[in-house]
């Protein structure tokens, strides 16, 4: 485990034990309940950030899961007389199942990201509230829990709830740390920056989003279950108000939604501030003052308090920049070879037939140039092969495996890598992390350390050794294109699909890129190479396929194919066919 990991693994439980000891020693009840409320908000805000902060799927439905948990405990203890503690895991499980159900439907729809997802989750909250209000779960009069026995973990009921809340908060923050330093967290962060590219690099986006959503909802459900005992009179109006969904967003964004400790800091600050101004006269003005402070913090620290504090600390104690020299030899060979084959692939978009029965093949160690006028379907073909779009008809195979109808991340893990015409690096990741992600999610299983080592090698291979710690917005176009390339290579592909990797480069850069591509070929990778720059096509390709309006109009050795009459006609017009 890393140094920081050890620090957290020791520090967090230690803090938890210290806080627990406070209660055992006999804290006045008010502090117990005040701190309980803070713990509850810490758990809520931190759990919210699993999906919404890390992956960027802003959910306004956290209140629904909290409410589901509250009513689960309320109903089970009063209607079925289950012991209170037993209802807590059930509350969490129900909330998690609810989230999983919603996610299973919603996450498959590509459109429903960003604000739409937020709205959908808000709507879920209202729907759930209405159902609870109109059925025997509540029906209107509220559920009265005063008669439910509370286990005596500590002398006072408030102390017991304090311990439960503390336990949940510590567990949640610990989970946040674990997630943000795991494959799951890495994948979620990548989904935040560019979900489609993450999927194409092998991140199982649907599974990860479901996991994050269910985990986040489950914790909210448990928090709700505990809170039901705290308020002891559960009504729909108070449970499903706009407070919970709104406040968790504020707390997380204030503290820093991408950082594991951010929401906890934000929650502590906001929850405490609600108490500062409870004295009679100042109540109204106090609220305004707190709001003003919130505004100022967001304007001045847009990433949140914790990241801003960390950035300041890093500036004060800079870490040395890693400089990597290019290796004497190219890195180790990639996975065993297999030929890529497209068999009669068709794809339409609405009324436009983008691909008409395209068939081609690329052997290992071969460079196939794919050319054609604009709009002929080259990028669409790459998108179909890599799994971004499904094929309407036909098959795509890699060696003995069929690729069609598989999700894109599986295709990536079988060894298909690609670059994008306009580079799409993960904006919040350094160059090194961009490449390391691809290495992490590529075929086989590598440890984070090994992934970083491989990433360093690929960066050096593409000449970006010195820029490992740079963010993508600090790189120029040439560097970003080569980052695309390094990232594609780090996925240990058997086949690599290059989409106009040379466009926008100057002649010297083009020459070095050509050399790189040749080196890649020498290692046995099959290369499908879309390009407009004829010089490069002729120099590099072993064979060429010409596409026009979705169909193959010529195939064969480069010069012959380019001279075919149909090809000349398509590029230059009938008059030039001669």
């Amino acid at each position: 485990m890393s140094a920081s990991g050890i620090r957290v693994a020791l520090g967090l439980p230690a803090a938890g034990l210290a806080l627990a000891a406070l209660a055992v020693a006999g804290l006045p009840a008010f502090y117990e309940s005040f701190l309980y409320l803070i713990f509850s908000w810490v758990a809520l805000a931190t759990s919210w950030s699993f999906l919404s902060g890390y992956a960027g799927y802003f959910s306004f439905g956290h209140g629904a899961f909290f409410g589901a948990g509250m009513y689960t405990t309320a109903a089970l203890t009063t209607m079925f007389e289950l012991p209170f503690l037993a209802t807590l895991p059930l509350a969490g499980a129900l909330a998690a199942a609810l989230a999983a159900g919603i996610g299973a439907v919603v996450f498959r729809v590509r459109r429903l990201r960003g604000e739409l997802f937020g709205l959908l989750t808000l709507a879920v909250g209202f729907v759930l509230a209405t159902i609870v209000l109109n059925t025997p779960i509540d029906g209107g009069p509220g559920v009265y829990l005063s008669g439910v026995p509370l286990p005596r973990l500590l002398a006072s009921p408030t102390g017991t709830l304090y311990l439960l809340g503390l336990g949940l908060a510590v567990a949640t923050v610990g989970t946040a740390y674990a997630i943000s330093h795991s494959r799951l967290g890495l994948g979620l962060y990548a989904i935040h920056d560019d979900e489609d590219v993450a999927e194409l690099k092998g991140v199982p986006t649907l599974a990860y989003k479901l996991m994050a959503f269910a985990l986040s909802a489950g914790i909210a459900g448990v928090a709700g279950g505990i809170h039901a005992m705290y308020v002891s009179y559960v009504t729909v109006g108070e449970t499903f108000s706009i407070t919970v969904p709104l406040y968790v967003v504020l707390m997380s964004v204030l503290g820093g939604a991408r950082h594991w400790l951010g929401p906890a800091v934000g929650a502590t600050l906001i929850a405490s501030s609600l108490y500062v101004f409870t004295g009679g006269q100042q109540a109204v003005l106090g609220r305004a003052l707190v709001a003003l402070v919130l505004i100022l913090v967001i304007l001045l620290l847009p990433e949140g308090i914790v990241p801003a504090a960390l950035a300041r600390w890093r500036r004060w104690r800079p870490r040395p920049v890693e400089v990597l020299a290019p290796p004497a030899v190219a890195p180790a060979a990639v996975a065993p070879a297999g030929a890529l084959g497209c068999h009669d692939v068709w794809r339409a978009f609405g009324g436009i037939q983008a691909l008409r029965g395209v068939s081609l093949s690329v052997e290992p160690g071969e460079i196939l140039g794919l050319v054609g006028p604009n709009g002929s379907g080259k990028t669409t073909l790459i998108n179909v092969i890599s799994g971004y779009y499904p094929a309407d008809r036909g098959r795509v195979t890699l060696g003995a495996e069929t690729l069609t109808a598989r999700p894109a991340h599986e295709i990536a893990r079988l060894g298909v890598g690609r670059t994008h015409q306009i580079p799409r690096p993960f904006a919040h990741f350094t160059a090194l992390d961009n490449v390391a992600l691809a290495a992490t999610f590529g075929p086989g299983r590598v440890s984070p350390r090994q992934a970083r080592a491989e990433a360093r090698e690929w960066l050096a291979f593409t000449g970006l050794g010195r820029r490992a710690a740079a963010r993508p917005d600090e790189l120029n176009l040439h560097e970003r294109k080569f980052l695309e390339l390094a990232r594609a290579l780090a996925g240990r592909p058997r086949v690599i699909l290059l989409d106009e990797v040379l466009s926008g480069l100057n002649p010297a850069e083009v020459a070095s890129a050509i050399r790189l591509i040749q080196q890649i070929r020498e290692r046995g990778v099959a290369i499908l190479f879309v390009e407009h720059l004829m010089r490069a096509v002729l120099e590099l390709s072993d064979r060429v396929v010409v596409l026009n309006e979705g169909e193959v109009i010529a195939a064969g050795a480069p010069r012959e194919a380019m001279r075919a009459p149909r090809v000349v006609e398509v590029y230059l017009g009938k008059a030039h066919v001669a």
């Binding site: 008010f30 209000l133 005063s146 308020v231 002891s232 009179y233 409870t278 004295g279």
Partner: protein, 402 residues
């Protein structure tokens, strides 16, 4: 001086006694203050009504301090804002008891907050007087004392009072339409109204529950109009009443008789559609209520303070009256037992009747509830007057139409 000298020792003694007596009677309360802690919804959705409780409480404490205080000591009211949230109320009551270490408690506003406070009071065995609790069957702590005098079964007694009042008119209703908010206490009483009406042989033509926070009243109004009942019972809160009446007016429908459960009294009385609206009350600013203990002081002071605070309807009624009564029973218990011990106070209250501004209260029934003291009032010329029972009606007032 010369005169005193001439009075001799008996005269001097008389003067001395007179001086001593005057001193103790008029002396300002002295010593460490008696601290009474409570919360109110000073912000949030419940703030409108909580404001009335704040004003009533402030008046009470000031008057108390102008006189003898409590047990000769000044009274300090430690008031905190629970932001209309029961979970905040709970922790603030814990603060008042364990950190601020107040001597006595006063309840917050509204059922949910009071329940939260009651739990805390129970744990620390402190007496909790309160003034706005609507679900007596939920109040299971023997140290709580309600001055919203619903009696132990308001879902039976309140509708019975209303139907009795209607039955005493020349043309009692034969059918009733009930529309109620799903707010817990309103729904509870309105469901009771349905049962009482059915038992009395009335036809319940319509029974609807709407969501607390409904914005569009058109459809509800249309359904009520469609039902064409003789009597409309609205389990309303705040301005629901006005909105529904207005919506019905837009459909050119005025219900023949209409009753409102928890309306905002001012706006309903002043609304053009509020004519002859019925509601319940425990206090109105006319005899015989104005003869009750404390009324003479409270009514003008409340008028002045509330006007200054920009309250649109600055008159004492159920809320302010109930609030004042809660302070009265606390003072009565403390003065009678000369003690600040909660156990002693609780015992005394359970065994004694206390005359208050809203009538004589007793707490020896189930869950410490006593008599249902609610009367029926009606809007006559933009003002609320009590019309039933007859001995409490304003001079010359009766339920209209007769």
């Amino acid at each position: 001086m010369l005169t005193l000298w001439r009075l001799g020792s008996r005269g001097a003694l008389a003067w001395l006694l007179l001086a001593a007596f005057t001193a103790t009677a008029v002396a300002a309360p002295a010593g460490p203050p008696v601290r009474i802690g409570s919360t109110l919804a000073l912000t949030g959705p419940l703030a409108p009504t909580a404001l009335l409780h704040k004003i009533a409480g402030e008046i009470y404490v000031e008057e108390l301090n102008k006189a003898n205080g409590l047990l000769g000591r000044p009274v300090q009211w430690v008031l905190l804002d629970d932001q209309s949230k029961p979970d905040v109320a709970r922790s603030l009551y814990e603060k008042l008891i364990t950190v601020d270490k107040v001597d006595l408690l006063m309840g917050p506003y509204a059922t949910s907050g009071i329940l939260a406070a009651m739990g805390v009071a129970q744990r620390y065995q402190k007496v909790l007087p309160h003034h706005s609790f609507g679900m007596p069957h939920l109040a299971k702590y023997e140290g709580h004392f309600p001055t919203a005098p619903f009696g132990p079964q308001p879902n039976v007694t309140v509708p019975t009072t209303v139907f009795d009042a209607l039955a005493a008119t020349a043309n009692p209703p034969k059918s009733v339409a009930i529309v109620t908010s799903k707010f817990p206490s309103a729904q509870f009483l309105s469901a009771g109204a349905r049962d009482v009406a059915a038992k009395r042989g009335l036809n319940v033509a319509l029974y609807l529950e709407y969501e607390f926070g409904t914005r569009d009243w058109g459809a509800l109004a249309a359904r009520v109009k469609d039902a064409q009942a003789d009597f409309l019972w609205i389990g309303s809160l705040g301005l629901d009443s006005n909105q529904l009446l207005e919506a019905m007016k837009k459909l050119d429908y005025t219900p023949p008789r209409h009753f409102h459960l928890f309306p905002a009294p001012g706006p309903l009385a002043l609304a053009p559609d509020g004519k002859l609206a019925l509601a319940t009350t425990v206090f109105e600013e006319h005899p015989p209520f104005t003869k009750n203990p404390g009324a003479a002081r409270l009514v003008p002071l409340f008028r002045e303070r509330a006007t200054r605070a920009n309250v649109p309807y600055p008159y004492v009624d159920t809320q302010a009256g109930g609030s004042f009564a809660a302070w009265q029973i606390l003072e009565a218990a403390v003065t009678a037992t000369k003690s600040l011990d909660d156990k002693v106070l609780g015992q005394w209250l359970r065994q004694n009747r206390v005359p208050t501004i809203i009538g004589t209260l007793r707490f020896d029934g189930p869950n410490n509830y006593g008599d249902d003291l609610f009367k029926v009032k009606q809007v006559h010329d933009g003002k609320w007057v009590v019309v039933w029972p007859r001995e409490f009606a304003a001079p010359g007032a009766r339920l209209l139409p007769p």
